[in-house]
């Protein structure tokens, strides 16, 4: 593992067809939980092998066992109920969860998956959680008086989960906050809640932020108590980097260098240019190239191709850096 420009991904990969079919069958009661679990483990193993083969440095479990990033946790927490179907866009619908009681965590939600995945590889695997502010913002709120009260209650259960992941050996814990800029006026709530989550962590912490007006929360977002931000950049033509020009960026940066919402494959040179842009503001030790966002909406072969571009681009730039005399 090189120690500069470590490559990684944002978390999710596409589910293979046999797993999609199995999930549908499970939903109709035509497959047992144990049978589904076996297929989820098979798919996870395949994705670990694929990530190793591609040459990624920090791996993820690919979230074969999750549907939606909020609903997965909501289904496992006390105080949540799962609501009816709501449209997210086009003809896509999801069951938006409802915070309807007092939030608590009966038992760990992702730790067994982390342990299983880490047992498959010598490379580090990230623990993957959804942050308290996003859990709040992407849920209906019925039971807490204020959004801050609910965010802090959610922070407490995410803290428990993160600490359990760390105890299980996670060196990297990602706590995603893609909704953090939904209401820029509430950035202080998101920061306070994240502080609860990371207060006792020694693992490297990272938070993924995407889809929205990053400029509206910059530079305040630098106060988010995590070591790294993970940002979609390629999709936005790297325009968020201009903000760093005006106010220095102070964290480590996982930088998105390939767009995950278009089929066309970027060239290695194009992706490498993205890394070089990032290097203007962050040192190579603190810059980690990755695709813009989770890859779950892409067919597996496309995801693999996009990740290969990331790895090859990192190799190219590493060579350039090594050529510079010390």
């Amino acid at each position: 593992m090189s120690d500069v420009l470590l490559t990684t991904t944002v978390g999710s990969f596409g589910k293979p067809e046999y797993l999609q079919k199995a999930r549908n069958a499970r939903a109709r009661g035509k497959l047992s939980e144990a049978e589904l679990l076996e297929l989820e483990r098979k798919a996870t193993t395949e994705w670990i092998r694929a990530q190793e083969e591609i040459g990624l440095d920090i791996l993820v479990d690919g979230e074969m066992y999750r549907g939606d990033m909020v609903a997965y946790f909501a289904e496992r927490l006390e105080g949540y109920t799962i609501g009816g179907l709501v449209r997210s866009y086009g003809n896509r619908y999801y069951h938006k969860p409802i915070i309807s009681g007092k939030i608590s965590r009966p038992k760990p939600m992702t730790v067994e998956w982390f342990q299983f995945t880490q047992s498959l590889t010598d490379r580090p695997v990230k623990g993957m959680l959804t942050g308290p502010y996003t859990m709040l913002d992407w849920s209906y709120l019925e039971s807490y008086k204020t959004r801050r009260d609910a965010a802090l209650a959610l922070a407490e259960v995410v803290r428990q989960e993160a600490e359990d992941l760390q105890a299980a050996g996670a060196k990297y814990i990602q706590i995603d906050e893609p909704a953090i800029h939904a209401r820029p006026e509430e950035i202080a709530i998101a920061i306070e809640a994240m502080g609860v989550v990371t207060q006792n962590l020694t693992a490297k912490t990272v938070s993924h932020i995407c889809y929205g007006d990053f400029a509206a929360i910059y530079p305040q977002v630098l106060d988010l108590p995590v070591d790294r931000l993970s940002l979609a950049m390629s999709n936005y033509g790297y325009r968020w980097l201009d903000l760093f020009e005006r106010h220095p960026y102070t964290k480590e940066l996982e930088i998105g260098i390939v767009d995950v919402h278009k089929h066309e494959l970027e060239s290695v040179e194009e992706a490498a240019a993205g890394i070089r842009k990032g290097l203007r503001y962050v040192t190579p030790e603190k810059l980690l190239p990755h695709p813009d966002c989770g890859l779950k909406t892409r067919p597996p072969e496309e995801s693999i191709a996009k990740c290969r571009v990331v790895v090859e681009a990192a190799k190219l730039v590493r060579k350039e850096l090594a050529a510079v005399p010390a």
Partner: protein
């Protein structure tokens, strides 16, 4: 006082019978049904939405915007030199829209949404209003590759919106909602918006300017002099002083968003009635309409139904309103 709705109604429900549009679109994607068959599903879903609004006791209906993927999609598909671009989050919602991409001078034939209006009017005896996207919202959320000026772009969109409003008027429409949340998001552009609405007003059809998601506190007095028949105000999504300042709006009907269309928590009849009673201290009841804060599509269908019931029963229970 009248009850009304704004924006889109849920297109599907969790009932097995409520999935027709979703499965119809899947079948259409796979080539299993043709455009005509899909059209029939849209039509049936629109009729069902209208029937439900009518049954709930809503006085002034819309067509439920069943064909709309987002606020811009019908127009981005129909207008000249506009395409549908990348997905982006729609304000503070976990709902996404395709950004319109403007690649040349925008032009509209004015008939983009008239067919649905005609269908809706044939499906009910009640008053049906039309709807078009707001010029400032379109202009601030699209990708502009042509005008390179927010002002020019907004006014060009306003001209296209005016054509749509005129088209709806010709189709028999007597009131058109212009959904323009950007006016309360970007109060600094209020004068540009005013110019845009002057152009839309020339179409000669009464307009309801619908703002939502954000409070209108900073622009309330300006809105009072917009060339529109109605002003829609969301008094539930965030803290706002608007409810205590409603007398700023004179000679225009206020469409008060009093039932939260973005949260499942159900308002009681008394809560709704109290909000109306507070408004009635400042606005005569002939100039007050009440509505959900925005489109009910942000809620699951079953909750949307209950929200309509809360709105109607609260309106009937409010003191000072003839039953």
């Amino acid at each position: 006082m009248k009850t009304t709705v704004i924006g889109a109604f849920p297109k599907v429900s969790d009932e097995p019978s409520g999935q027709q549009l979703r499965t119809g679109l899947h079948k259409h994607d796979r080539g299993e049904i043709d455009d005509r068959a899909l059209d029939q599903v849209y039509e049936a879903t629109t009729r069902a939405a209208i029937a439900e609004l009518e049954q709930a006791g809503i006085d002034v209906l819309n067509d439920g915007q069943i064909r709309w993927d987002d606020l811009f999609s019908p127009f981005a598909r129909a207008w000249k030199n506009v395409q549908r671009g990348p997905l982006e989050r729609y304000y503070d919602n976990n709902t996404y829209f395709r950004q319109p991409v403007v690649s040349g001078p925008i032009a509209s034939d004015g008939n983009t949404v008239t067919a649905d209006l005609t269908l809706a009017r044939s499906a009910t005896q009640r008053e049906v209003k039309g709807a078009v996207c707001g010029p400032l919202t379109f202009a601030t959320l699209c990708i502009d590759e042509h005008y390179r000026s927010l002002e020019k772009l907004t006014l060009a969109v306003a001209d296209a919106v005016a054509a749509e409003v005129a088209g709806l008027g010709k189709a028999g429409c007597t009131l058109v909602d212009i959904e323009d949340p950007a006016i309360v998001v970007h109060p600094q552009h209020i004068e540009l918006a005013r110019e845009a609405y002057r152009r839309i007003a020339r179409a000669g059809v009464p307009i309801a300017l619908q703002t939502y998601f954000f409070p209108a506190d900073r622009v309330l007095e300006s809105l009072a002099s917009f060339p529109v028949a109605q002003v829609g105000l969301d008094v539930r999504s965030r803290d706002t002083t608007v409810l205590r300042r409603l007398d700023a709006i004179r000679e225009r009907t206020i469409v008060l968003g009093i039932v939260d269309a973005r949260n499942t928590r159900l308002e009681t009849e008394r809560e709704v009635a109290s909000l109306i009673e507070e408004a009635l201290k400042l606005v005569p009841q002939e100039r007050l309409w009440v509505a959900p804060t925005t489109g009910l599509e942000y809620l699951p269908h079953d909750v949307a139904t209950k929200k309509l019931a809360a709105l109607v029963s609260g309106a009937r229970a409010a003191g000072g309103v003839p039953a």
